[in-house]
């Protein structure tokens, strides 16, 4: 690759001059593809934050249910209107807000569980570790969507908050296995032995000495995890058991047009495009992070 200079922190692990965070930011800024991804994601985040200012109409207003419904895209309604005469562009803009929020919050739940479970399992080791890992194997062999189907059919009509919790609770299995591996590898490192010799408690060793070494896999898992949750939420909403109607989420908008796909093509095309672009940027960023952390 042209213009790539050797990075002292990358090539010389004996002198780690940069924090993982600084390293991650530089990794993203160094590659053109991830710079573009960051910029595009930035635009989508701004759209989400400024939704009330940017949306031309109220996303849930049904101004004219008789002659204003099912309108094809036009200047007045660039993304058309839905069967309830709501403006699809406004709903897509508000949908960005909801999808990103759900993605971020659910991923926070996943990270908390994944790190805690993996760190405890790896640090305790032995029989406890074996039991915890077998349980994890079982959880990993249930496809996430199926697990969520089971849960969401058992608890119908969930609020968004509960949906976020369940999305988060089904997303930590992979990360906790990575965290466990890292903790297992670092458990007998000299700096841990030193901390033990100084009389540090297990809790302190885990939180102060081991966790900071896990920043890299966590950052990667978080970025890719948000993308995953956005797709899952849309899929569940498309099946009618995700975000409760009539709240605008990207999946709900597609669901509203799904039984007339051929006639109301704009209802699946536009929210889907926004979703794919968002997920693409997150995947690019996640991979740039993974590349630099793995090289180290």
């Amino acid at each position: 690759m042209p213009g790539q200079t050797p990075d002292s922190a990358v090539t010389d692990p004996a002198r780690p001059r940069h924090s993982p965070l600084a390293l991650g930011v530089r990794a993203i800024l160094r590659k053109r593809s991830s710079r573009i991804a960051l910029a595009v994601l930035g635009v989508i985040v701004v759209i989400a934050v400024l939704a009330p200012l940017l949306a031309p109409y109220d996303p849930s207003a049904q101004p004219d249910i008789v002659s204003g419904k099912d309108l094809a895209p036009s200047l007045a309604h660039p993304f058309g209107t839905d069967p309830y005469s709501r403006d699809v562009l406004s709903r897509v803009i508000y949908g960005a807000r909801l999808s990103l929020t759900i993605g971020i919050l659910a991923t926070l739940v996943s990270l908390t569980f994944g790190v805690a479970y993996g760190a405890v399992s790896g640090y305790l080791g032995g029989f406890t570790d074996a039991i915890m890992m077998r349980f994890l194997d079982a959880l990993l062999s249930i496809p996430r969507l199926l697990l969520l189907l089971g849960v969401l059919v058992a608890w119908p009509h969930l609020s968004i908050g509960a949906l976020i919790v369940f999305l988060g609770l089904t997303g930590w299995f992979g990360l906790s296995r990575i965290v466990r591996g890292q903790v297992l590898a670092l458990k007998h490192a000299e700096f841990v032995t030193a901390a033990e010799a100084l009389g540090a408690s297990r809790r302190r060793i885990l939180v102060r000495h081991l966790l900071p070494n896990l920043v890299s896999p966590i950052a990667v898992a978080a970025t890719l995890g948000i993308a995953h949750v956005i797709v899952l939420e849309a899929g569940l909403s498309f099946l009618g058991i995700g975000v409760p109607q009539p709240i605008a989420s990207w999946g709900n908008i597609i669901y509203d047009g799904a039984d007339q796909i051929a006639r109301l093509w704009w209802m699946s095309l536009f929210p889907g495009l926004f979703m794919v672009i968002t997920v693409m940027t997150l995947n690019v960023l996640g991979e740039s992070l993974r590349d630099v952390y793995q090289r180290r």
């Binding site: 194997d137 249930i142 496809p143 969507l145 199926l146 189907l149 849309a234 794919v276 995947n283």
Partner: protein, 323 residues
Amino acid sequence: MLGYFARRLGQAAVIVAIVAAIAFLLIHLAPGDPFTGILDNPNVAEKVRTTLRAQYGLDRPLPEQFVRYVNALAHGELGWSLSHDQPVSEVLASALPNTLLLMSVALVGSFVLGILVALIQVARRGTFTDHALSGITLFFFSMPDFWLGILALLAFTYWLPIFPVGGAVDPVMHEFLGLGGRIMDRLRHLALPTITLILLASASVARFQRAALLDVLPADYIRTARLKGLTERQVLARHALRNALLPIITLVGLSFPALLTGAFFIEKIFAWPGMGYAVVNAIGSRDYPLVVGGVIIGSIMVTVGSLLADLLYAWADPRLRGH
């Protein structure tokens, strides 16, 4: 080798047992029971409610219910589907062949396409072709299954009516066709759902395989092959690909959850009469036993799939054969 097989088989059995326990927990942690929707209203007599619940054993203590549940499961019974008025096992058994057909064609197709794309990319690494293909695979990799399904349906059944709208066969004409006509009819219905699923699944194969090939290229035997004068094509196809194929077996095992999830959405969109179609429709009719049955069977499929992949790996890697 035999010891490894036995150990791995035991592991899979433990996993299935835990999955069953989780499914049981799911059912009983949920508010109400499968009859809550139908029975718990003032128009139903108290006696009917208690009788029906007693018939289904819902009045027994939880541990007893769990033992009965495990026992039934071991006999292949998954409960009673309320919307089909049929045992869940029968509903799923009649739908399973269609799902397996869809998944196996998609599995083979996606690995062939994915490996091919990766080979082209690595042969022209760093060029425009490589970057363009990377962009395309990233696009399909990031695409929600159901959205590509909708787009494919929109484009190739409505705008360009090349393929039939849905189902496994033509609902009216199939009965009256000859043998050749029936086969053609089935293929025409199979085409669009499988192409969609192949496109979705091949993206991750291509991305994975490209990285695996690039990992292999710096190896000594590749340099040897180049030095003895083989063309780049020969080096890639004979020496690099063969060694980069081992991780592909692992990827096959790992791809089952995504493939199954994809099949669920694709079946729903193309009205393909498989397991996903049955389970997704059961959501609408609140047919809880059928949904949970689908979760259990789906998890067993994934477990068996990764078990087979592991065994295949142990058999294919000569370094593991001795152990």
